[in-house]
Amino acid sequence: MLLEFEKPIVELESRIAEMKATAAERGLDLADSIKAIEDNLVKLKKDTYSRLTRWQRVQLSRHPDRPYTLDYIQTISSKFIELYGDRNVKDDKAMVGGIGEINGEPVMFIGHQKGRNTKQRQYRNFGMANPEGYRKALRLMKMAEKFNLPIVTLIDTPGAFPGMEAEERGQGEAIARNIRDMFMLKVPVICIVIGEGASGGALGIAIGDKVMMLEYTWYSVISPESCSSILWRSWDFKQQAAEALKLTAKDMEKFGLIDEIIKEPLGGAHIDPLSMAKKLKKVIHDTIIELKAQSADERIEKRIEKFSAMGVVNE
């Protein structure tokens, strides 16, 4: 699938491929013209991706080819063993977790999981977790604390699931408890938004010593679509809503609401998933070392201080 602004780039790419094929077939020397078009392509890409609107960034964060949580975990971790269930109700397929290794260091991975085709998307409930998903995540975090494993959470959700059973089983309570208890975890906690970071559903696994966002992701209190429907009373103002919400990685870093942005390959993580995963692996590895240099009490104190300082008021 192609996004609107990806089309000219792909057109140019296929033209280059065609010319190369023609050159080889007929033994022509088209090197100069090909080089010229390739230069144009680089320029076009840089231009396009440096001028993306906030809405276009939201579209990129939802690109159907984008790597999801398990794609990253399986690439960056050896010996990954997935763990299931909240020990209460059931196993939530929209929230995954397990123990793996990064460069020989054991890590607890937790994250929202989306599906790639229709069947998988339904199976993963579109990445919208139920209360048991948040309780499963908390169970794994407490286990990580017990065995002294750093925690890495990968955030990619359009929101916590707004269904009847979710309400019956206490969606609000599950998220609230996670938020509160994550502040007191004695092990290092790293949270990375890899796609969509929608509201409480994201925050429920996003309290950490380091909170980071990939370059083309969004994180806010509501999706642009829902914001449009509530404030403009119509679904048609999602672009304006995205602008107003200032929900991109750059915005969130500027406001001091996240700690760091992780650059993506030009055009997005889906253009080169392997190099994205390698980058992520290095960032996680380095951050764990950095956080392990502090004591548990220091980390907890700083974690609380950081989030306590968030907000702007007139005294």
Binding site: M164, S199, V221, W232, L245, L247, I304, M310, G311, N314
Partner: protein
């Protein structure tokens, strides 16, 4: 042309503004059962209907008056007002919305906090006002609640939160979201200090407020028939494509599913809170007041 004209003005000539049975605000009509009673009688009944027990939606002024002995309390952080860090505009600029709300309600934002005595024992109370932009939680709400919790911890006084909110305030976007984190962090510290926290959920309590401090009480209690949930009923209806059963997300429903300790009639609120706290605060000594 009229068939006939009145030759001279006779009979009743009361001007419209005097055509009323009683002065404004003397009577209260129940929104549920339409019973009409004297406003004063309604007020003396803790703003509940004597016929059907409907709990009228009230604000911080009324809750403080119901809870604190002789309505005596010291307000905390009363002057905090909203900034506009995002320069947010939807159909109108956010600062205009805030100004209009301040003017309409006489409040500075959607929460007020204070401390005073309840049946003789100190209590810190933070209470939301739904009349201020739907009781939505932005930086001011989060900050005032955070400071009230800090005050409670520092002075070893129990904390009570009265929630009434549609959730996080969209116009402060990311900042609003992080107020859920900030307030929950403070509650984690309060819990560690073994200072009790009572969360009273009133009609309505939804969204980010439910998914943070409202559900984190040592005691989660609610007023009868309050709407309590994470997602609002409209969103759930749209998601499942069906109408919701009667009583879904009511306080009684939430109690039945195990997320509330009890439901409290507003007329008994003060005594019940005081009795409960008197049994679990023997380890605390109020500091520095």
């Amino acid at each position: 042309m009229a068939w006939f004209n009145r030759a001279e003005k006779k009979g009743v000539t009361t001007p419209t503004e005097l055509k009323r049975e009683a002065p404004d605000g003397l009577w209260y009509k129940c929104a549920e059962c339409k019973t009409v009673i004297l406003t004063k009688a309604h007020q003396d009944n803790a703003y509940t209907c004597p016929t059907c027990n409907y709990h009228e939606k009230i604000g911080s002024k009324e809750y403080f008056e119901l809870l604190f002995d002789n309505n005596e309390f010291t307000e905390l952080d009363a002057t905090l007002t909203s900034a506009d860090p995002l320069e947010f505009t939807d159909t109108k600029p956010y600062p205009d919305r805030v100004k209009a709300s301040i003017k309409k309600t006489g409040l500075n934002d959607a929460v007020r906090s204070g401390y005073g005595k309840v049946n003789g024992a100190y209590l810190v109370v933070a209470c939301m006002d739904f009349s201020f932009i739907g009781g939505s939680m932005g930086s001011v709400v989060g900050e005032k609640i955070a400071r009230a919790i800090d005050f409670a911890r520092l002075h070893q006084i129990p904390f009570m939160m009265i929630s009434k909110s549609g959730g996080a305030r969209m116009m402060e976007a990311g900042y609003s979201l992080m107020q859920m984190a900030k307030t929950s962090a403070k509650l984690a510290l309060l819990a560690e200090a073994k200072v009790p926290y009572i969360s009273l959920l009133t009609d309505p309590t939804t969204g980010g407020v439910t998914a943070s401090y409202a559900m984190l009480g040592d005691f989660n209690i609610a007023e009868p028939k309050s709407l309590i949930g994470f997602a609002g009923p409209r969103v759930i209806r749209e998601t499942i494509g069906k109408d919701l059963p009667d009583g879904f997300q009511s306080a009684e429903f939430v109690l039945e599913h195990g997320f509330l300790d009890f439901i409290v009639d507003r007329k008994e609120l003060k005594d019940k809170v005081a009795d409960l706290l008197s049994m679990i605060t023997k380890h605390l000594t109020v500091q520095g007041i």
